[in-house]
């Protein structure tokens, strides 16, 4: 009884010779969160004040990645990653939603890849967002966190001990990010995202820019730095956003710090102040991680977010939000 239907099914999908180069991976991240969201109007006072308890799936996913050598200097690489909602299984009507997916060729001159994946600007944030995928995620107060469709990217090899750069071209296809966000009256065009930085385990500095990626006429510059000093990690990110369509020109920053108190306990803090996504946004988070095993981490967090309700593209300063989130969760990498 060595062969089973499962084995046959996988055999049909994965050539045996290539199986050794396949990495199957994933993680489940679920939290139980107390949410207290409040909306205020300067004209009408308190408009909504809702408290609730939520079970959340925070970017739980499963994926496969790997590669196969064509010859000693060239390799085919791929990654297929899908998100699934552990809490309710909905995921916007899909059991699995696409995350980073690409197929590429990697050689001594660099890597050329195409698919649906994070732009160089998004990737440039590196590890400084300590509350990634939670309410304190920088995507709630910044722009530029784009996973683009129909994107082709060149990544240079690492040189000089840690320098590398990426440049990506986002096509103007109608099913891509670029044209989706464009007003119908605005001429569509392709977008470009690029980054350059130096990375080591001790520190990282990077600069990244988007041109016409979010929409035609929208440019963005991001500067990032991370420093690891023994048990401490510090991160800074600054962003400048310029929208020629609306005349909006805003900036923001976020700073983060993590203290690995022991090999199991870590204390985290993060504060961001930005006008980029919302008017006068402020996000402050505190968190405590307990690493139960190499793969399982128990965590707790508190996040407070204040911002203007309306988007900067419709600058009505009438309404504000004042939200509090407290939760505990489990992150398991498998």
């Amino acid at each position: 009884m060595k062969k089973t239907l499962l084995a046959l099914a996988i055999t049909s999908l994965l050539p045996a010779a290539a199986f050794a180069d396949v990495t199957v991976y994933g993680k489940a991240n679920v939290s139980l969160q107390g949410t207290d969201e409040a909306s205020y109007s300067s004209a009408n006072g308190n408009q909504a004040d809702g408290s609730k308890v939520e079970l959340l799936s925070n970017a739980s996913r499963i994926g496969v990645k790997g590669g196969e050598e064509v010859n000693s200097k060239l390799k085919v690489i791929y990654q297929f990653e899908y998100q699934t909602e552990v809490d309710d299984g909905t995921g916007g009507g899909q059991t699995f939603a696409q995350r980073n997916i690409y197929l590429g060729l990697q050689g001594i001159a660099g890597t050329l890849m195409g698919g649906h994946f994070d732009t160089p600007t998004k990737v440039a944030q590196e590890k400084i967002d300590l509350f990634n995928d939670l309410e304190g995620d920088i995507t709630h107060i910044f722009k530029g966190e784009i996973r683009a469709s129909n994107i082709v990217q060149y990544v240079s090899p690492t040189f000089g001990g840690g320098f590398s750069g990426s440049v990506a071209y986002v096509t103007e296809e109608t099913d891509g990010v670029t044209k989706q966000n464009n007003p119908a009256t605005v001429d569509t065009s392709s977008g470009v995202s690029a980054s350059f930085g130096y990375n080591s385990s001790a520190f990282y500095v990077g600069v990244a820019a988007d041109q016409d990626v979010e929409a035609n006429g929208v440019d963005l510059i991001r500067l990032v730095g991370r420093l690891t000093l023994g048990a401490f990690q510090f991160g800074l990110l600054g962003e400048s956003y310029d929208n020629d369509n609306t005349g909006v020109d805003d900036e923001g920053f976020v700073g983060s710090a993590m203290w690995n108190m022991t090999d199991k306990w870590a204390l985290k803090a993060q504060y961001g102040d930005s006008d980029v996504r919302w008017i006068d946004s402020k996000s402050a988070s505190l968190g405590l991680d307990y690493k139960m095993t190499k793969s399982a981490t128990l965590y707790g967090y508190y996040t407070k977010v204040e911002n203007g309700v309306t988007d900067v593209m419709e600058p009505t300063l009438d309404n504000y939000r004042d939200d509090d989130y407290v939760g505990v969760g489990l992150d398991y990498k498998f």
């Binding site: 062969k3 990697q106 990737v123 520190f203 500067l223």
Partner: protein
């Protein structure tokens, strides 16, 4: 914009210091989208380790080894893959990483039948070595001598 530039210059001037250089987990490595990162071996890690144990390359394609899978799947949460470090005519060394002390006895019990597979006439335990690893894990190595 001046504030952002100041932050960037400050970060550039930061002093390099000690930091961990271990391989990230497979999911974190994928999340980084860094195609230049060093190749890490995940054949003994997590779900990937289970699949690599369950399916081995065969002349007719992937073959599910159900007999081994039973012994491999059960302890995987507590014990990383068993590694055969050295095999001679009479000596054998088996090594395993254990996630916590409470699972050491289980890991040790699992090594003994594996030694019996390598030493069909029986064996004696010559030495047991315990070494601390990061995150509270334990490296257990048992050296055997096979009966002739």
């Amino acid at each position: 914009m001046k504030l952002i530039l100041a932050m960037f210059i400050g970060a550039c001037c930061a002093v390099q210091a000690y930091a961990d250089d271990n391989c990230a987990s497979a999911v974190d490595a994928a999340d980084s989208m860094n195609v230049n990162q060093k190749d890490c071996d995940y054949t003994n890690e997590g779900l990937n380790g289970v699949l690599h144990k369950a399916f081995k390359k065969g002349s007719e394609g992937a073959v599910l080894e159900t007999a081994e899978a039973k012994s491999a799947v059960a302890p995987v949460a507590a014990v990383a893959a068993v590694q055969t470090n050295k095999v001679t005519d009479t000596n054998l060394s088996l090594r395993v990483e254990v996630d916590q002390w409470s699972n050491v006895a289980l890991a040790r019990t699992q090594l003994l039948p594996k030694a019996m597979e390598k030493c069909p006439k029986g064996f004696s335990v010559q030495r047991e070595n315990y070494r601390p690893l990061p995150m509270g894990r334990i490296d257990l190595t048992i050296e055997f001598t096979c009966f002739k």
